[in-house]
Amino acid sequence: MRYGAWVRRLAAAAIGAVLAAAPIAAQAPAAADVAFMKGMIHHHAQAVEMVALMQGRTDTPALRSLGERIDVSQRDEIGMMRQWLLEHGQEAPDPLPHIGMDMGDHAMPMMPGMLTAAQMAELKAAKGAEFDRLFLTGMIQHHQGALTMVEELFATSGAAQNTAIFRFASDVDADQRAEIARMRALLRQVPPR
């Protein structure tokens, strides 16, 4: 334990307590941070793809409103993740332009919670209440996968020491938990099969 040693040194070095110290270097990201961002881009892209399926398949206002919010949120976050990766000299996946194109089962890496090609096909084929039910169960599964990704990130030695990553992962966790709770409430309103 080095309890307080650095603080005492600081205090000793302080002249009028205004430190002339150079700025503390920004924390460099870990490989797990980069992998988290790249993976989450694909994860988010599938949510956008699912929302795009709403057109012509459901008119439930609360669901359309939920979809609009998910679409805006996840598109913005994809942009933010891409910016962060580029700023850190990394390759930034850009899946949004390909949404809606048939890329087979292997085009998009499968991150935790992502719907399989079969699940997506089932969603595409559904309409009305059946679509609402599949959309909500699918999106809850999808969001729970994001919580798993966050959990795995925080369980990795050296990860999330960069504030942007820590904060984004914490926000994803908090936001998607709240959204899961709202989706469960909506699911209770969908007529049973």
Binding site: L19, P23, I24, D76, A164, A174
Partner: protein, 588 residues
């Protein structure tokens, strides 16, 4: 048809009829794109700005140690929340904190710069103590940079750091109280029955650490573990005579229902396909306490809640609300009389541009409720009324009441949307009355910046600018707010101000208060114009006199005002005016 709402919420104390009606119409977007704030030139120190009914008194730029000059929006160096005591302003930063000597509001001086990374660095102060929130896993016991690589480490610190600032230039660590999720924000709660202690409510919102790092912590769901560190806040008791003995004394289950389910507000459960759900919304982001009322308003992820805090160590939930338009309940403010509560929705966590013309005015906004006993009723929304660009992070954020007597007015930060001052006296029709906004840091790339918090304190609005520094502003008189109203607001002074510990504004007997009411009566035609003119001249006459003559003049005016109450269309204000004149008449 309005959107569906969970039945549980309908059974709860909230009556969200207005919320539903508004939500049903929420397709209409409408932030102005022609306002002077739209499309301001980008820049860091040289961004263009727009201002209305405010004057920028000073801007103090960030010291180099709190800045990454190569990446102005670097999350590791964000300025965060503010606290005030005497001539000092305490400004948190994700990289430590700054103490400003604000003796001269036009020329702040950096008294102390204390590097200590760990975010968010929210500050509070009480006596000679300074409190700091630390939430990130990079936070270290020794305040050093470099983070903590291991997932379990004795070097990590997440929780509340407590400093002795009896020598403001040389803060000393007294103790550091570790908590399971760290401290995203915290709130000081005085105990009316025990002046010897102060409580700290700790709101943790991120990852729960391992029990191997801090004994007793559990990230499990409440269904799996009755000792889950989720679904609670932590309460630290600080004995003021021995602050080094500060420790967690309670972790109340403020989301529990009457049957004892820890996650009572949004229980998990079975539905469909035999799946067992675990509960998910498990945290409070921020709690504003109002000790004079014995109440707290908690902005808690999927809900707004009201707590009875008459026993600060054992808060009890007495009301809750949900809102289909809210993504993430973030913070709260009471009106001065406690009859209204304003909650903010930090949709997107503050890092996203959520004030674009395409973003709904009911999303990422303030929701205004009336509070009557245990009944929270949603009556209106307020959102920054002007569209911001794609490179401006913008959503509802921290603010505080401006103590204008007779009106509910608040100054609020909207990140790169700037500062908006609005009137919510009529909670169904809040409207903007002043603003200050800069252009984005960059025209094409979103660099995190803007106002983290905008608080009225002793006559000025103080705005913690995330990427730039600290702005001080003052209100300027106009149609929306008169010189008398501004003068009356400036009469309310507090030596210590921690904005999440809301204090009751009480106005002294002063002619500015009476004149402020008269200006309001003129504005809302609450009393006849000729009568208003006569009362004004009677006050002027009384003020020109002194001693017994002044008292006599005020006594005569008070007596005549008693006759105005019944005939006035705004009897509340006429009564308030009469009270002030009566107090002035009794003054020596």
């Amino acid at each position: 048809m309005p959107p569906m709402v969970p039945r549980r919420a309908v059974r709860a104390t909230v009556v969200s009829v207005f919320a539903l009606l508004l939500a049903g119409r929420a397709g209409a977007q409408g932030a102005s794109t022609t306002d002077a704030r739209a499309g301001l030139k980008a820049g860091w120190k040289d961004a263009a700005s727009a201002i209305w009914n405010l004057r920028l008194v000073s801007t103090t730029w960030k010291p180099d140690a709190m800045l990454d000059a190569k990446n102005l929006g670097n999350f590791g160096f964000l300025n965060s929340d503010l606290a005030f005591a005497g001539k000092y302003v305490f400004q948190g930063n994700f990289n430590g904190y700054q103490i400003w000597d604000a003796s001269d509001v036009a020329n702040l001086k950096l008294k102390t710069l204390y590097p200590c990374p760990g975010g968010q660095g929210d500050m509070s102060t009480w006596g000679n103590l300074l409190f700091m929130s630390v939430e990130e896993t990079r936070g270290r016991v020794d305040c050093a940079p470099g983070g903590v690589k291991d997932t379990v480490s004795a070097e990590r610190f997440r929780g509340i750091r407590i400093f002795d600032i009896s020598d403001v230039a040389h803060p000393k660590v007294i103790t550091q109280v570790q908590t399971c999720r760290g401290s995203h924000t915290h709130t000081l709660v005085p105990d009316p029955k025990d002046k010897g202690a102060i409580y700290v409510y700790v709101q943790g919102t991120s990852v729960v650490r391992s029990p191997n790092e801090l004994a007793g912590c559990s990230g499990n769901s409440p269904e799996a573990d009755a000792n889950s560190s989720r679904f609670r806040i932590e309460i630290i008791r600080v004995p003021l005579a021995h602050p080094a003995e500060a420790k967690v004394v309670n972790a109340p289950r403020i989301f529990a229902d009457s049957a004892g389910h820890i996650a009572g507000l949004w229980k998990g459960g079975k539905h469909g396909e035999g799946t067992q759900e675990t509960s998910v919304t498990d945290q409070c982001h921020d709690i504003t306490v109002y000790p004079a009322l014995g109440l707290a308003a908690g902005a808690c992820s999927g809900n707004g809640i009201i707590l009875d805090i008459t026993d600060p160590a054992n808060p009890k939930r007495i009301a809750e609300a949900m809102d289909p338009n809210f993504a993430y309940w973030h913070s709260a403010n009471f009106s001065n009389d406690g009859s209204k509560v304003l909650f903010t929705d930090e949709w997107g966590g503050g890092a996203a541009p959520r004030c674009r013309a395409s973003d709904k005015l009911t999303w990422g906004a303030d929701a205004i409720f009336t509070l009557d006993g245990r009944a929270l009723r949603h009556v209106g929304y307020y959102k920054l009324p002007v569209a911001q660009g794609n490179s401006e992070n913008c959503v509802a954020h921290n603010g505080a009441i401006i103590p204008v007597p007779g009106r509910d007015i608040m100054a609020q930060a909207w990140y790169q949307g700037g500062i908006s001052v609005f009137d919510f006296t009529d909670p169904a029709k809040p409207r903007e009355i002043a603003y200050f906004d800069r252009g984005p840091i960059s025209a094409d790339t979103l660099h995190l910046g803007g106002s983290w918090s905008a608080y009225w304190h002793n006559g000025h609005i103080w705005s913690s600018e995330i990427a730039r520094g600290l702005d001080v502003l003052e209100l300027t008189p106009g149609r929306e707010l008169s010189a008398n109203e501004i003068a009356a607001a400036a009469l309310v002074k507090f030596d210590v101000n921690n904005p999440q510990t809301q204090m009751r504004n009480v106005w002294p007997a002063h002619p500015a208060v009476a004149r402020a009411y008269l200006d309001q009566l003129e504005r809302d035609a609450g009393l006849g114009a000729a009568r208003i003119a006569a009362i004004r001249s009677a006050i002027d006459g009384a003020e020109q006199a002194s001693g017994a003559a002044r008292r006599t003049a005020y006594q005569a005016l008070a007596k005549s005002l008693a006759g105005d109450v019944s005939g006035a269309s705004d009897t509340t204000r006429v009564k308030a005016l009469t009270d002030v004149i009566t107090q002035l008449a009794a003054q020596r």
